[in-house]
Symmetry: C3
Subunit: 242 residues, 3 copies
């Protein structure tokens, strides 16, 4: 069946980095959009844009394109954004798919869900860079794209953009736990993903906040978008169907 | 080597649903039986049949067929049944194989091993249905057969039968922990199985009750019998050999 | 790129058991050494040799061969040895790779990192065998080489040698946590490895002691060196590159 997918990127990314996965989904007959969120676009004011702005930009995108029966797929930080948008887009949604993505409870910000050493690192980098954060290459290479060779790790890193830190520190405005939202939910876990430490993992720590959810796995690291695009597309299709 | 397997189905199933896996094992040269336990047969009194009845029906089956050197393979609720039968069948057993199956301690019932929200759900359904329980389709589709497409999820669901609730609430009559039983044991874990939540998992929570055991994994969900029959048969063979 | 690997065996093994993996790495263009540590060589005094002796034998090997930019790969007990050697070999190291291997904190011995029932077992065997330990075949077959058939389990077992118990009881002499050592680190986890129980696992319990590390997985049990040599070689290459 031809479904409509909106792939929502993580921090430091734009929609363009999701295009290889989108292309595989399109070849399977689906319509796929990869918008870039407010805060990650060229010229965006990274000192001021927060989570609510990013959420609003996604809501606007879906409404302006008059999309219906949407599979909203959020990766990593994108989970904060699809969670925030879901209540407002509910009549347009077929399913939420979280790909190693954050699932907030009401009032939580992304920084509440990461280990203390990440918060300390981000605080320092943001303070020195006009409230925008970047990820040191060493962490990217070892903990985010651990399954790539060095050449791919470098070319992928070169595509990242400074991320507005207020999207990590501004609490989610969701009015109820995601488990209470009347829409299907899936959680897709890339088995080599150690961007969050295995002792504070994506699954089941965050996935179980969805209540009843469909669980699927995929090869690859947190950056399977670069390293395993075909497997990831197939897994997204299984996570998103019916 | 040609071995003898007895595949013991889970709740809501009969032996017939295990036939695709049995056929793969037969093609590998083994003798395979798929009995339907008391309580899941047409016409069984689902209001009255309990765990001891199901155990007795398995013991009777193995004895009446005069099986020797049996690999007793229990799936899910079937783990309660093979555990109960093992002591009585000990001279006839070569090995116990648990496939995402419950392993009771003495005095525990199946309901002691599932999350509270399942017990509450089952209590309500059984009270309204003459002490028989069914699984809502939504839970089946998302948490039991998460790796199937919708068509297979539906056709498989249509084959399920109402399950006698007393088999979930009656304590196991085993006289000693399964770890103490002098027979080889294996635990086979289907990696997409989230029928039990990952925070209250099959493995290692239940597997380690076996003491020394052989661990193996398989592709697929709790219902890999429908979705991954060939992989499951191969994994059962590795779990059951020597 | 042609890299230099030194594969460091686990308890009861010699370098010869790592040769099938070494051969795959050599076919990929690398230089690979598989030294046998002090304590596991023919004629070694197994009553007296301790962890410091084994560490010294590895340091000597690397220095005598004047190896540079070494990938030091430790399996199981070999993790205690590469950890102890790393500080002294630091200028010669490119990376440490732990394959289901122990990672000590300063002052810990291997026995501090295993479950109590293993310590009790080892104590008894060593007391009866001149301070050398062997692993009972039943544990080897079920928990160490669970993915092999019985024939391979037996031929592999026949190659093991009595292990000097002081290497398990002598504390590591490392002067700082491994996380503090300025060299790249990888942790490679064979997914069927239950030589340590899953409730006291290799990963993340021991891997996270490395601080920032690259995580990879591989098919196979604790003895993937015998059962999955090609997959293991490929995974070691991913763990060891750049």
């Amino acid at each position: 069946m031809a479904d409509t997918y909106v792939l929502v990127h993580g921090a430091w990314h734009t929609g363009a980095e999701l295009e290889p996965v989108a292309q595989h989904l399109r070849q399977a007959g689906h319509t796929v959009h990869c918008p870039t969120l407010a805060g990650n676009r060229p010229g965006d004011d990274r000192a001021r844009i927060g989570l609510a702005d990013a959420v609003a930009s996604l809501v606007d995108f879906v409404e302006q394109h008059q999309l219906q029966r949407v599979r909203l797929v959020g990766h990593s930080y994108g989970g904060m954004v699809i969670s925030g948008a879901a209540e407002r887009l509910l009549p347009r949604l077929a399913r939420l798919v979280y790909v190693n993505a954050f699932v907030p409870q009401p009032g939580e910000c992304l920084n509440d869900l990461v280990p203390p050493h990440y918060r300390a690192l981000f605080d320092g980098v943001a303070a020195a860079n006009g409230n925008a954060v970047m990820l040191p290459f060493e962490i990217w290479r070892e903990a985010f794209i651990n399954d790539a060779d060095l050449a791919l790790a470098k070319t992928a890193y070169a595509r990242l953009n400074p991320h507005p830190y207020r999207t990590f520190t501004e609490p989610s405005a969701i009015g109820q736990p995601m488990a209470a939202l009347a829409v299907g939910k899936s959680y897709l876990n890339c088995v080599l993903d150690v961007a969050l430490p295995a002792s504070l993992p994506w699954h089941p720590r965050l996935s179980e906040r969805l209540g009843l959810f469909r669980y699927l796995e995929c090869a690859g690291s947190h950056e399977a978008w670069f390293t395993e695009p075909q497997s990831l597309a197939q897994a997204i299709e299984k996570a998103g169907r019916d």
